[in-house]
């Protein structure tokens, strides 16, 4: 090996051993946190599971869950708030779970519809990132009630999960995701919205018939 080659190798090693660690600085990590609505949901759910219905009712009355039900009353099944309160007062755990399932399914449905609207207008380079953000938001709500949905309507649960998986493949941060066309990316969101819409409407109709 010539002297120049040897010096070159030593320099390359020094640069490799210097730049690599220098570029690998610690910048912390982020773990998504619960928001006020999901936190309150978990409080109510765990109180109901422990059969502490008086505690659950208190948490519901003063919590973000009820405030959100009121704020979104226009798009939610009629009487959802009153029905949830009545179920809590009657110590009916299954009905509380069903009402809360409807609430989160409706929130996820509305987000899927919103995503569809946004993706229709989004620029090609921002499409995958926008889709990814909406998927995260939808999943944050839907995953809270997926078990309750699967127990009552397994087909809906499977359909939502399949649509979700399909959307995830389109929004992965890869070169292929950057070129995915809007109509293709919108399809799984439309399916999520339709399936959850059917679930919400069917369950609301059922509840009205039962009452």
């Amino acid at each position: 090996m010539t002297k120049i080659a040897c010096v070159g190798r030593v320099l390359a090693t020094i640069i490799f051993a210097t730049i690599n660690p220098a570029a690998a600085h610690h910048v912390g990590s982020y773990v998504p946190r619960d928001n006020a609505v999901t936190t309150n949901f978990k409080q109510v759910k765990f109180s109901v599971q422990a059969k502490k219905f008086d505690v659950a009712l208190q948490l519901f009355e003063g919590g973000a869950l009820r405030a959100e039900m009121r704020a979104k009353a226009a798009t939610l099944p009629p009487g959802l708030e009153d029905g949830t309160r009545a179920a809590l007062k009657a110590s009916d755990g299954a009905e509380v779970e069903r009402r809360l399932m409807l609430f989160f399914a409706a929130l996820a449905r509305d987000l899927a519809r919103e995503a569809d609207r946004h993706l229709a207008d989004a620029a090609a380079e921002a499409r995958a990132a926008t889709g990814r953000k909406f998927l995260e938001a939808i999943w944050r709500y839907y995953n809270l009630v997926d078990f309750a949905v699967s127990v009552r309507d397994n087909k809906t649960s499977v359909a939502v999960r399949l649509a979700f998986d399909e959307a995830e493949t389109y929004v992965k941060p890869t070169a292929a995701a950057a070129s995915v066309d809007a109509s293709r990316l919108r399809q799984p969101f439309q399916r999520i919205a339709n399936v959850l819409s059917t679930l919400v409407e069917a369950s609301s109709t059922q509840a009205r018939r039962d009452s």
């Binding site: 220098a22 910048v27 953000k133 938001a137």
Partner: protein, 178 residues
């Protein structure tokens, strides 16, 4: 000094000590300010992020945007914390390593270069965290990181690493040839 006595420690130049101590002072002031102005800083950062919605990819839907803002605010806060920790630690590293260099390296250009690289690299590197934090609200997470990397972390971090390797080699050499 008898033949068995270890060599006495030599102090590095005063300006090096001053830089090391100033780094620790800045770390302490930064840490205290972070605690004292936590709310004001968070409010300012949130306001600046909302003023640059496209930079952060905000879509105008609360359920989507709140997570994006939360992540940016957590990273903004992490940058300030990491500045506090690194400036504190690097101040001590500068003083300790410059003292080793002043003691073991023979007087001359090599010693001056090692001490200069250790001091500038060690004191400059933590500033990258402040730059990163300050740029997050206006530039977004990724762009702010890239700017801090190329402006501060890589040049100053490389300087410190090169100097530390050099010092390590020199220390090993002094073991063989005291």
């Amino acid at each position: 000094m008898s033949a068995v006595d270890p060599p006495a420690w030599r102090l590095p130049p005063r300006w090096v000590l001053l830089v090391g101590v100033l780094s620790i002072v800045c770390a302490e002031v930064g840490g205290a300010s972070m605690a004292r102005f936590k709310l004001e800083l968070a409010r300012w950062a949130r306001g600046a992020m909302l003023a640059h919605p496209s930079v952060h990819g905000l879509v105008g839907v609360r359920d989507v945007d709140e997570r994006i803002l939360d992540e940016a605010l957590v990273k903004f806060d992490a940058g300030l914390r990491l500045f506090h920790m690194h400036a504190e630690g690097m101040g001590l590293v500068v003083i300790a390593t410059a003292t080793v260099a002043a003691t073991l390296a023979r007087p001359g250009a090599a010693r001056r270069v090692i001490i200069a690289l250790l001091t500038v690299g060690g004191a400059g590197y933590p500033v990258g965290y402040l730059v990163w934090s300050a740029l997050i609200p206006s530039q977004g997470l990724d762009a702010a990181k890239t700017i801090a990397e190329w402006l501060v972390w890589i040049p100053f971090g490389s300087a410190a690493i090169v100097a530390l390797w050099w010092l390590a080699g020199l220390t090993a050499l002094r073991m063989i040839k005291p």
